[in-house]
């Protein structure tokens, strides 16, 4: 009944599911802790500099995607970071502006930012009208509006997290030119290098999910990250064992993978 050549794949798939579901139910009892994320650690310094220079902080989630796309988890992670940034900004008395591409994000972001200000005890300082700015729903119109904003307000810090498309290249260059310190992260692999070149701090690929889970402390998200970590350990063990056995002249692991 089982198709030969696909048995080990099935076992692995089920194992990964078990890792994920098991970790989620364990996370309900005790939330696992996280390693340091270099990009996130830079946030207080970035907001601090904005406070010193009396300039604003800019936040964007990119000019693409939709809430029904597979990129949704990236937007969820971005919102967790936005909440954290809002809290920091409220504390330091810095204005944070979120430029919106997807109109569906407006109510979500407003709530997230308000909650951040509330945590800092400064709910009154939040002005949804001017801090959640809908720019445009067209990619390049949005990009050009954000570039205009960057030239006018010259924000001290610029945070870009979410599913980015070609606009990553425009934003990276523009914010670098106007002198903003940038923190960027996206799980869309092809865009990461552009951020790596043009931004000061980087969350590489999956780090944004980890950042989102870490900041939101959401049980499912944290549990799933833990489940994936176990999957990575599984991959590490198989790779090392296989490599050593191959060096020793045995193809046991390779044959096992082909079952």
């Amino acid at each position: 009944m089982l198709v030969t050549g696909r048995i080990f794949a099935l076992v692995t798939l089920i194992a990964i599911w078990v890792f994920a579901l098991g970790s989620v139910s364990l996370a309900k009892k005790k939330l696992p802790s996280f390693r340091k994320l270099a990009g996130l650690d830079a946030l207080p310094e970035m907001v601090g500099r904005a406070a010193e220079t009396n300039k604003s902080v800019h936040f964007t989630t990119g000019g693409g995607g939709s809430l029904t796309d597979p990129v949704l988890p990236q937007l969820v992670a971005a919102m967790a970071v936005l909440g954290h940034v809002s809290e920091l900004c409220a504390k330091y008395g810095v204005r944070v502006v979120y430029t919106v591409f997807l109109s569906e994000m407006i109510p979500i972001a407003t709530e997230v930012m308000r909650a951040g200000y509330l945590r800092a005890g400064k709910e009154d300082a939040f002005n949804a009208e001017s801090q959640v700015r809908y720019m445009s729903g067209d990619q390049f119109a949005y990009a050009s509006a954000v570039q205009g904003y960057a030239e006018r307000e010259r924000p001290a810090a610029n945070i870009m997290i979410g599913p980015f498309y070609a606009e990553s290249q425009l934003f990276g260059e523009t914010f670098y030119r106007v002198g903003s310190i940038s923190l960027a992260g996206t799980a869309r692999g092809v865009q990461v290098p552009f951020f790596a070149v043009m931004c000061d701090y980087l969350l590489i690929g999956e780090e944004i999910y980890a950042a989102g889970a870490y900041l939101s402390k959401d049980i499912t998200q944290v549990g799933c990250i833990r489940g994936q970590d176990i999957g990575k350990v599984y991959a590490l063990i198989l790779t090392i064992l296989g490599f050593l056995l191959t060096a020793a002249g045995s193809s046991f692991i390779i044959d096992l993978l082909k079952v």
Binding site: R177, G189, V190
Partner: protein, 285 residues
């Protein structure tokens, strides 16, 4: 001290972008007006791609996805055209095309106008065919792999498939000796690895934007793709099939612009370090 006046290094660092773009434009225009005819070296990936098609026995069927969008045509198009030249010149192959990009059928017509299959005696419906666009990317690839006629019984001009001799005995992935995908999207380039290579072990040739190459390298290394090339290598394919066109013409421009931008990088770094050094000196003295 130097607060009022910007040092030369600072000025160099803050060069307005209009100047940078203007210089880059020159790097495009000079070789276009006055081609140098720089040579084009053949890389192993392109050679492997060529040899793979060359080694196909007569009567083999090729599945070919015109999965790129108009936005990527200037890069991917020339490569696709050169490969069509190769396939038609070799002859005796059945090329079954479709598209997972909704501009694919239009780009197919464009490529055919450029190739002119008649000159090799290749006939529509006998040597090649276009089935049309299929929505749903990976779902479409899986569906086509399972059964073409389960999904459609007509070609893109809505003529029944049974009227074409090329479609005799071709219905699913197991009937194809090779799958080729030209694409500007990662969903497509990786989708064939998942839905065709993994499921049916069909040999796979992938042509993508140069910028997507790194993401495809692991597949090439593991043998899941026979060869991964970029559209920017079109000049190489054109010189292998001896039909010089846009690809070779772009080699001069590539040489000029890449050198200019490398100089940008070097000047940028010199300015950066010189400014840092002069600042240090100023604060030290």
């Amino acid at each position: 001290m130097s607060k009022q006046k910007k040092s030369i290094w600072e000025k160099l660092e803050d060069l307005p972008r209009e100047v940078l773009y203007g210089i880059l434009l020159i790097a495009f225009i000079i070789p276009m007006l006055n081609p140098f005819g720089f040579p084009v070296p053949i890389t192993p990936e392109v050679r492997k791609w060529y040899d793979t098609i060359q080694a196909l026995p007569t009567g083999s069927a090729i599945a070919l996805d015109m999965g790129y969008s108009g936005g990527g045509e200037p890069e991917i198009g020339p490569f696709a055209v050169a490969v069509f030249h190769h396939i038609f010149r070799k002859g005796g192959l059945k090329t079954v095309c479709w598209a997972t990009s909704n501009e694919g059928p239009l780009l197919f017509d464009k490529a055919m106008a450029e190739v002119n299959p008649d000159r090799y005696g290749a006939k529509y419906g006998v040597d090649y065919i276009m089935l049309g666009y299929f929505a749903g990317t990976e779902t479409a690839m899986a569906a086509l792999g399972k059964s073409i006629r389960g999904l459609t019984t007509t070609d893109y001009k809505r003529t029944p498939l049974d009227q074409y001799s090329i479609m005799q005995g071709i219905n699913d992935a197991t009937n194809f000796k090779l799958v080729i995908c030209y694409t500007t999207g990662q969903d497509q380039s990786e989708g064939y690895v998942r839905q065709w290579v993994t499921a049916y072990k069909t040999p796979y040739l992938s042509n993508v934007l140069a910028l997507m190459i790194p993401a495809m390298l692991p597949y090439a290394r593991s043998g899941q793709a026979v060869s991964v090339t970029s559209g920017a290598q079109a000049g190489q394919m054109e010189s292998l099939v001896k039909v010089p066109a846009r690809g070779i013409a772009s080699a001069d421009v590539m040489t000029m612009t890449e050198i200019f931008v490398s100089v940008y990088v070097i000047i940028g770094n010199i300015a950066y370090f010189a400014r840092r050094a002069s600042k240090k000196k100023a604060s030290g003295g």
